[in-house]
């Protein structure tokens, strides 16, 4: 009886955990992004596809996939409006490749150009922990369209996004 109750409790919690994000997606805002990325340690350009959901004005999740060789997918969570914190993990063909945590702030550079700057630490698995900075830029094209770019000391990215 106790075991059955425990199972029911776990199932209820599991369903609740699954339902909360699904319910949030229905009212989410975000964007899809398609672009190209260039890494300093690889030749040529790779395509990048990203999806960002803003579950609340503070909480956003971003999944980005790079078709570089080897492929790489990052999952980033951001919390805060204007300023806040972030964390991410990067997954490659051999599992988790790196992770990072830190803070971010947003700045309106012009009427059409917004920037979000991330400052934190990065750890490539089995390597040293190093500081990192990257800046995301968004240029409003009007309507749901925008040009988005990213620059860090390691790579650059440029593409177009569609907001929903």
């Amino acid at each position: 009886m106790k075991s059955g109750l425990k199972n029911t409790l776990f199932m209820t919690l599991f369903v609740l955990c699954a339902l909360v994000p699904l319910a949030a997606v229905a009212s989410a805002q975000g964007y899809v992004f398609v672009g190209v990325t260039s890494y300093s340690d690889s030749e040529g350009l790779a395509t990048a596809v990203a999806l960002e959901y803003e579950f609340t004005p503070e909480l956003a999740l971003n999944v980005e996939h790079y078709s570089a060789d080897p492929i790489y997918t990052s999952l980033l969570a951001r919390y805060g409006a204007g300023t806040g914190g972030y964390g991410y993990v990067g997954v490659g063909t051999d599992g988790i490749e790196d992770w990072g945590v830190g803070g971010f702030f947003e700045s309106r550079v012009t009427d059409k150009l917004d920037a979000r700057v991330y400052v934190g630490i990065n750890n490539i698995i089995n390597d040293a922990v190093i500081p990192e900075v990257w800046a995301e830029l968004r240029y409003d094209l009007g309507g749901p369209w925008a040009i988005m770019g990213m620059a860090s000391g390691e790579c650059g990215e440029l593409g177009i996004s569609f907001e929903f």
Partner: protein, 158 residues
């Protein structure tokens, strides 16, 4: 020829700084540079001469005999260029644009976004972030973070 060119550029940068100093304001700062956990801390000294409202010249010297100079033009937003020399000549150069953002009354940031080039011809994207936290009087804490690089320093405004 290459050496003379380097010396010429350095002398020009120094002269511009000295000429500018007469009417310039700015700050000097002393700190340490690190490339992350496991790397040595390298002390450095630098000065920022605000020659005019828009133009700033920032020479920098690291104790491992690396020199650099950065030129910045603009207020709030603008452009920058820099070159770093080591014993073998030019170590790298940077060009790009910057924008400034106040995070609080005391904490100011400057975001530099552009390209970095190396002697072997590689040119890759680059981004770094300058912090300045104003203390009382002419003192401030300064920092820089980039991919794989962090610097912290104490500054004195003049």
């Amino acid at each position: 020829m290459k050496r003379s060119l380097m010396i010429g550029v350095l002398v020009l940068a120094m002269m511009a700084s000295v000429i500018g100093m007469a009417s310039a304001h700015g700050n000097v700062f002393v700190g340490v540079h690190s490339n992350g956990t496991g790397s040595d801390l390298v002390p450095f000294v630098a000065a920022e001469f605000q020659v005019s409202e828009e133009l700033a010249i920032i020479p920098r010297y690291y104790v491992d005999e690396v020199y650099g100079v950065r030129v910045r033009y603009g207020v709030g937003t603008g452009g920058y260029g820099s070159v770093v020399f080591d014993a073998n000549g030019v170590e790298n150069w940077r060009v790009g644009a910057f924008f400034e953002h106040m995070l609080s009354e005391r904490l100011a940031t400057r975001v530099n976004i552009g390209l970095i080039g190396f002697p072997d011809g590689d040119v890759v994207p680059d981004a770094d972030l300058d912090f300045k936290y104003s203390l009382s009087g002419p003192w401030s804490l300064k920092g820089l973070v980039s991919y794989g690089i962090v610097q912290a320093a104490v500054g004195f405004d003049f």
